[in-house]
């Protein structure tokens, strides 16, 4: 990844190098004098001696172009160097001493930003008169505050680092530590800012020279050349083109260099992938043949999901089977990273772009009694099911509501998306009342930020049940809420099961106490697999998988007399054990467990386990 970024940097870097070299080498190149005139050949075209022709005073255009690069670049670079040094110093001082020093340094510099840059430049030129010196001085003033800001922000963040604070608390003189830490941190943003500023300085310099207020003739500058060529553009339009190309090209190369440099210095992956929801990347190829009808509401069969890792595809969910009958609540439990949320998102067809479905079926039987495979359904057909047949309540109600839309807009769009046109306002209020929101009429007109966390989750639930879904997926709906509110939301969901007749529910959680309270059946997930499934009471009374047993033993609300924790940690997705995935942490593991992956077995009617030794352990 990183090498790739560096390779992309090579092109603009070498172009930039070439431009700089040309400018530096101007005096030793076999060029004429950039200011020597030849009035007899004014506006002469391209010739052997003058590759780009001659200008309005008969001066060689190529010579002036290269010397112009020298003038433009030297003004821009000197101004930027001054601004970098002064700005960085001001920023570090302000960030280190804070208080009055900060006001005297960073805040003072920022006053410059109150003025449009071109105007301030003109103000200074009025006082000092045009010329290269004035230009450098002006540009330096203009760009100092930006560097001061960068250095200030970095200084503050370094000061806040734990070991710097610790040293200060110990009474150590922190100045040296600060500088040692600061300099490597501050270098990347400064380098990027440096090249950006050179480009900006070139634009301003050429603009001022173009107005006749920058570089003083007869010195060549690209801005001045464009100014000169404008007067003769009817006779010699090409004269206009060369300096325009040179200026634009140089700025373009500089900007490109900055972009790629920033990418190369950024430790992140850089370049976001395409947003997933616009096209269902997860959809499986293959004919959308009518699958055989299955009893029940939902049957996930052999679902396998992969994520594209740095070294190849990594399976994150493997061979998952779950079923939900109408009116039934299935709890899916497991530690974070066990794949329970991804399984839920796969049912909704809302997997993130990075996750790919590689195998399996998600069979859903609709109101019409037809069974569809959701993994092979076109996006259009799936969208018609979302929010009407299948609904989802997410973990964090604060971020799941659009902060700019009122509550009624969220509920209204859920109704409108499925064809309701009339009586929406009344239905919204009714829904809000059904989920126990006080004063639903005025709450409907509120914005999400005006509601408490529990109220927001009630709104999310109201939106989810707006169209009487047949299956409600609740993904840890109480995790982000206060403990006192959690119970209320659970009560609400339990109540919904009674009022919404025949609605099945998949309740994703890591809380076993909640499972016992709300679910009929439970599926225990570990490292991307369902390791045990069965009726809640049976599973809790007699777990048939050591992981389930360990999970129950580690729950304070469980029946265990002594609280135990499971040793070790969940294996990483790219380093899964060959055999049983739980074997490395299992106290009952034998050699055989490491050798072959256990198949799904049925210890009792309606129950499954993925343990080789369940019979011995039972």
């Amino acid at each position: 990844m990183r090498r790739d970024k560096l390779r992309r940097l090579a092109l603009p870097a070498s172009l930039l190098g070439a431009i700089l070299l040309l400018a530096l080498a101007a005096p030793v190149l076999p060029l004429g004098n950039p200011v020597s005139q030849d009035i007899n050949h004014r506006l002469a075209g391209i010739s052997a001696g003058h590759w780009l022709g001659q200008d309005e005073y008969g001066r060689d255009v190529l010579t002036r172009l290269i010397w112009g690069a020298r003038v433009s670049l030297s003004v821009a670079v000197s101004a930027t160097v001054i601004a970098t040094i002064v700005g960085t110093l001001l920023g570090i001082l302000g960030g280190y001493f804070r208080g009055m020093v900060e006001i005297g340094t960073v805040r003072m510099a920022e006053i410059v930003l109150c003025f449009p840059p071109m105007l301030l430049a003109l103000l200074v030129v009025t006082l000092l008169g045009p010329g290269a010196g004035t230009l450098i001085f002006t540009l330096a003033i203009l760009f100092t505050p930006t560097f001061a800001r960068v250095a200030y922000a970095e200084t503050l963040s370094v000061r806040a680092l734990d070991y710097v604070t610790a040293q200060e608390a110990l009474g150590a003189r922190s100045g040296r530590i600060l500088l040692r830490t600061l300099l490597p941190n501050i270098a990347p943003p400064l380098i990027v800012q440096f090249s950006l500023t050179i480009a900006a300085a070139m634009l301003l310099e050429s603009g001022l020279s173009f107005l006749g207020l920058g570089v003083v003739p007869p010195d060549p500058s690209w801005g001045l050349m464009i100014r000169g060529a404008r007067t003769t553009m009817e006779q010699a339009p090409l004269l206009l083109l060369w300096p325009c190309l040179a200026l634009t090209g140089t700025v373009l190369v500089l900007n490109l260099f900055c972009d790629r440099l920033r990418n190369a210095l950024d430790p992140g992956t850089g370049g976001r992938s395409r947003p997933g929801f616009l096209r269902r990347l997860a959809v499986l190829a293959g004919a959308a043949e009518q699958p055989a009808a299955v009893p029940g509401l939902l049957a996930v069969r052999k679902l396998t999901l992969e994520v594209q890792g740095p070294t190849g595809p990594v399976p994150v969910v493997r061979d998952v089977n779950i079923t939900v009958a109408p009116g039934e609540t299935l709890a899916v439990v497991g530690e974070s990273g066990s794949g329970k949320t991804l399984t839920g998102l796969a049912v909704m067809g809302l997997l993130p772009a990075a996750v790919r479905v590689t195998a399996g079926q998600i069979l859903y039987t609709g109101r019409d009694g037809r069974t569809r495979d959701l993994l092979r359904l076109p996006e259009r057909a799936l969208r018609a099911l979302r929010g009407r047949d299948l609904s989802m309540v997410f973990q964090d109600p604060a971020s799941s509501l659009n902060p700019l839309l009122r509550i009624d807009a969220h509920l209204g769009e859920a109704l409108r998306a499925h064809g309701q046109r009339q009586g929406i306002a009344a239905r919204v209020v009714e829904l809000l009342r059904n989920v126990g929101l006080p004063d639903p009429e005025s709450r409907a007109r509120s914005y999400p930020h005006e509601l408490s966390g529990g109220q927001r989750q009630r709104v999310m639930i109201a939106a989810a049940i707006a169209n009487h879904p047949r299956l409600l997926l609740a993904d840890e709906p109480t995790t982000a809420l206060d403990v006192t509110v959690q119970a209320q939301i659970l009560d609400l969901l339990a109540g919904l099961k009674r009022s919404e007749e025949g609605m099945g529910m998949v309740f994703v959680t890591h809380n076993l106490a909640v499972v016992a309270e709300i679910a009929d059946r439970v599926a225990v997930m570990y490292a991307g697999e369902v390791v045990e499934e069965g009726p809640v009471a049976e599973v809790f009374a007699a777990p048939r998988h050591p992981y389930t047993a360990a999970l129950i033993a580690s729950t304070p609300e469980g029946d265990a007399e002594r609280l135990t924790s499971i040793p070790g940690r969940v294996p990483q997705a790219w380093a899964m054990p060959e055999g049983c995935r739980f074997a490395p942490r299992c106290e009952h593991a034998r050699a055989i467990c490491d050798q072959s992956a256990p198949a799904l077995e049925s210890p009792a009617p309606g129950r499954t386990t993925r343990c080789l030794r369940w019979k011995e352990l039972a």
Binding site: P116, L127, L128, L213, L240, L247, L350, A417, N467
Partner: protein, 317 residues
């Protein structure tokens, strides 16, 4: 909302005062006698008699605080001083030319938003595809072409070679509305090229960021169509950074019109400024810089109000 607006207005007025004070100070901060500096030509010491005369004219012979109070008092009455060359009132000249500049900037912003916003959204939705790469490259190019190069090339091609449009100039709207708008279009487009590229880039980045947010996925889970999600949940939420950046650039543009007005002979406030700088007519320069900087500050005030309109959280915050 009203309290919020009042608070922001107070801050803006304070900033205007800071700007006015700074403009006043600049002439005194720069080392050397201001009158001598203004009269200096290529390092030749000016006639002492002229220096004394100018010093008197600018009131530089009086104590600093007296000068400051006279200056602020004048500003409060809308008096920006008088031209050194012809004793014309600076305020009158600005009042005549400022609307033309504002019209130009407004038209440019309109064009830039008209193209930049939809194209930015499009680029984000097609991120990584050929269309996005094309749009992003065009934006990078547009950002690298200096505004006076764009203007000059437009004149070269459209006015000079193809003779489609006049090379610039100005006709009052009252005299001939159609020709007025025709002449407005070219300089406005010239400014809009760079500004539109900025809008495109910011919009693209902002939309990409919003697309990843939870509430977009939640809306999807409700079965809302892609078009409605983009309209209601993405574009509006992505607008705040776009507004900020456009406003900041508009402020910078108020100075940047200098070049475009010069290229197209648009008799706005900037042409007046260039002339004043050339003749080093300090009261004129001071007046124009002060007015434009104040507009810059007020623009930021309007942006703050716009935030409150876009985002209800700001209103209550």
């Amino acid at each position: 909302m009203l309290a919020y607006a009042a608070r922001r207005l107070l801050v803006s007025l304070a900033l205007v005062w800071v700007v006015a004070t700074l403009v006043f100070m600049v002439i005194h901060i720069i080392p050397g006698d201001p009158a001598e500096l203004l009269l200096a030509q290529g390092g030749v010491a000016p006639d002492p008699w002229l220096v004394t005369d100018l010093r008197e004219k600018l009131g530089l012979d009086q104590p600093l605080m007296t000068q400051y109070w006279t200056y602020l008092g004048g500003l409060a009455q809308g008096n920006f001083g008088y031209s050194l060359l012809d004793d014309h009132s600076v305020a009158d000249e600005i009042a005549l030319r400022l609307p033309r500049t504002l019209e130009l900037v407004g038209a440019a912003a309109l064009i830039a938003l008209l193209f930049g916003l939809p194209l930015g959204v499009l680029a984000a939705l097609r991120a990584g595809e050929a269309l996005d790469r094309l749009l992003s490259s065009l934006a990078a190019l547009a950002l690298s072409v200096p505004v006076f190069v764009v203007g000059t090339l437009i004149i070269l091609v459209l006015a000079q070679n193809l003779r489609l449009v006049p090379a610039g100039g100005y006709i009052a709207f009252a005299t001939d509305p159609l020709r007025h708008l025709g002449l407005l279009l070219m300089p406005a487009i010239t400014i809009a090229v760079g500004l539109g590229a900025v809008v495109l880039r910011v919009t693209r980045g902002s939309v990409l960021e919003v697309l990843e947010r939870d509430h977009v996925r939640a809306a999807q889970a409700r079965g809302v169509s892609v078009a409605a999600i983009i309209r209601r949940h993405v574009v509006r939420n992505a607008l705040t950074p776009v507004v900020t950046v456009v406003a900041l650039h508009l402020g910078a543009l108020l100075g940047g019109t200098v070049l475009v007005e010069f290229v197209f002979n648009w008799p706005g406030v900037s042409g007046y400024l260039v002339r004043s700088v050339e003749s080093r007519d300090y009261p004129e320069v001071m007046g124009i810089v002060l007015v434009i900087s104040s507009i810059f500050v007020l623009l930021n005030f309007l942006v703050d109000l716009l935030y409150a309109v876009i985002d209800p959280r700001v209103r209550h915050g």
